[in-house]
Symmetry: C2
């Protein structure tokens, strides 16, 4: 077999193994009535600030954040300092989280304590999309500063999102963002998932997203 064919076969094995383990995680957490929410987005789209923002509306729930980063524990330190339980995964160069990493993290904590476990995935609009982590819902966080053409250039991640969040709307007066064009691009690949607009920094528009989240728990 050529290297090309070999890598396609091995990649398929990796995806299959990942999906099997993800299905086990999903079943296990469902039996404990725990929701797992996978948050995806570009580097710097505000995933941690978003989690801090929605946590204020989830005081009646026990939540944990699993943080995925190549290096550093900046976000875990920040979340813990705010009283939000957080667990750090460092991929040391890896471009995505996978189900094995999530299983190991869950084995390291007493997950029965939690109602919702959020995963802040590595900042990446491509590779993260290929790995099911056993999540209940997948949320794609975008921003008005990234421009309105992203659904056309990165359609696959918009296609699989259970919800799309447009963050940083406080910056709308200062950037070129064509909301109609952006939404048209999403609807081309994803006709039904809800689209939310908010500013986590200013706590604007947070509640409609939290309502949707709570309905899906």
């Amino acid at each position: 077999m050529s290297d090309g064919k070999k890598i396609i076969q091995i990649q398929k094995n990796i995806y299959d193994d990942n999906d099997r383990l993800a299905a086990e995680i999903k079943t296990e957490l469902a039996s404990k009535r725990i929701s797992l929410i996978n948050i995806l987005g570009t580097p710097g789209c505000g995933k941690t600030t978003f989690l801090i923002g929605i946590s204020k509306y989830l005081k009646d729930k026990k939540i944990l954040v699993i943080e995925g980063d190549l290096e550093s524990d900046i976000d875990t330190v920040k979340l813990n300092s705010l009283g939000i339980d957080s667990f750090q995964i460092n991929t040391h160069g890896g471009c995505h989280l996978d189900a094995v990493m999530i299983e190991k993290a869950l084995n390291s904590i007493n997950d029965k304590d939690y109602d919702i476990i959020f995963i802040e995935n590595v900042g990446n609009l491509i590779c993260t999309n290929e790995y099911d982590l056993g999540e209940t819902k997948r949320v794609l966080l975008t921003t008005v500063t990234e421009g309105s053409d992203k659904p056309y250039k990165y359609p696959y991640i918009f296609e699989k999102a259970d919800a799309v969040v447009i963050n940083k709307i406080d910056l709308l007066p200062y950037v070129q963002f064509d909301e109609d064009f952006f939404k048209k691009g999403i609807r081309h690949v994803n006709p039904t998932s809800p689209i939310f607009k908010l500013s986590s920094l200013r706590d604007e528009g947070t509640e409609p997203f939290v309502d949707w989240l709570k309905k899906g728990l």
Copy 2:
């Protein structure tokens, strides 16, 4: 051999093959006195606007842009409409460009016509960093909206950059960006590469970058 060991070996073969071809591209373009500039950055960091911005200061050079995107030809259409020669590569889900794609693109155009060929890589701070494209220089484009912790979370791409550009400085009054912390993070992994601050949209700070670029041709 286990799947894990197999994929490490095949990945090594892929990197080795890529590096060999990249070295050939580098030699070939050098013999024609053509510079190849690899532009990396997150989705939405303003790579195309940056290229349009610097092109105004390169009227004495014949330039071409090779555009890398998963899907769409939005940027190529835009550049061509502005009189900037542009060639589209669609990876159809691939998370980076590689030397094979660049060689194919160069074979499709009459590269002897150009002084500088820019590559606008796929928006990704991780996988793009692993593939030498035969470039003369590698430029990392970041923005003030992405936050100041990026060098700590994505150190590998900062380490390999020949220049780091902080774009969108027109948004500085409206975002939280700690420039000292950001630069300290870069210097931790990359002690010498120059750091430029500019706003391509407002054409502020473009000339120092162009001066650096021209010196390296």
